[in-house]
Subunit: 224 residues, 2 copies
């Protein structure tokens, strides 16, 4: 792994509320590892597209699942400039004034040139990581990809060289005078939660639900 601090650039520097910015790999990677959907922005023929897709991190690279990225592929010879954003929402922040209403969140932005992963071994490993990132332990149970399926899957690799995190936590911050008002203020926590898994009704008789499914949780235990 490269240096702990990520170099700040003009576009990664958090300008509006600088104290919310973080530029160390630990902060950035914790957010990337907890999330599992990113929004990939890119420009084709002067038009900007923002597409949600899955991803995984391996070391200092972000692997982006390219099935949704077919629009990129037309232009894809020597890589494409992208901005990848991952956003986790942690709470709704209710202040005494409308103006200071906010959200608690953790977000990461990564800028760079995404390149097509063409090597078959690397691609296979990327598919394993996509699956394991979303459902740990799943890979060993599934029917692995065939050569044809590998070919049908697009994987992009984005080095995490130009990136920053932005984090807001805690209580609302009101104007001093507003604390005298008879208005409730606080935080409504928000979290992505999983419900009880259901099977597709087409299981073979002797198949039971794996513990990594019945005990599935996202959040704290996903960090690595």
């Amino acid at each position: 792994m490269s240096s702990k601090e990520i170099k700040r650039t003009e576009r990664t520097r958090v300008r509006r509320i600088p104290k919310r910015g973080a530029y160390d790999r630990a902060s950035v990677y914790q957010i990337l590892d907890e999330g599992f959907i990113c929004h990939v922005g890119f420009t084709v023929d002067e038009k900007t597209f923002v597409i949600p897709t899955g991803y995984a991190r391996i070391g200092d690279n972000l692997l982006i699942h390219g099935s949704a990225a077919s629009r990129m592929m037309r232009e894809m010879t020597s890589g494409i400039e992208v901005c990848v954003t991952v956003t986790l929402i942690d709470g709704l922040v209710l202040a005494r004034s409308a103006f200071h209403h906010s959200m608690n969140y953790r977000s990461v932005v990564v800028f760079g040139t995404a390149e097509l992963v063409e090597n078959e071994t690397e691609k296979y490993e990327a598919l394993r990581l996509f699956t394991e990132h979303i459902v740990p332990q799943r890979w060993d149970d599934v029917r692995p990809p065939t050569a044809k399926e590998l070919k049908a899957t697009t994987v992009l690799r984005l080095p995490i060289q130009e990136a920053s995190a932005k984090v807001r936590t805690g209580n609302p911050v009101d104007d001093e005078a507003d604390y005298d008002l008879n208005i409730w203020a606080g935080v409504i926590p928000v979290q992505l939660k999983t419900g009880e898994a259901f099977d597709d009704g087409k299981l073979k008789e002797n198949v039971s639900v794996p513990s990594y499914v019945s005990n599935y949780k996202r959040g704290e235990n996903k960090q690595r």
Copy 2:
């Protein structure tokens, strides 16, 4: 409200899996009204940015909270081309094959020119809608924005003229031969849930938690 169907264009047409596409305003608006974070993509000096921010819908317009959009503002004279994406994740789809793993989701993409809302009355109404979109009934309780606060807030208006929804629901779809495998397959439902609200410890003595906070829920009851 304009026609029920939204005109399809080259960039809104869902190409990869066409049956997942929806182009009627009801489908698009239901997703926009349930979500509350969008990812705004735009290009400045040939660089693409994707920024998460709050929004609200009024009729056939999307109002985007511009505090996070300060980068846009430099270029903002006659509007800026944006792509706004809202993504709701509903489930993790575990197929028998790695290849057919998927997610259940509902997403909306809106393309267009976002314009600065400068009229004070309109801006005030936008702030009300931002608040009410996230926490219905909150507006009547808060200390309303001052003229100075209004000035400090940036609001963008994006007409919903070029937009589409993309939706995946239901079970995994495996290759016919794979249904014979002894592999569990199904869906782990995923939902954004709220926890118990907590106050900021600075309430006046007689202030109790409002019912719109203690009974706060997102999801089905947010559609309008």
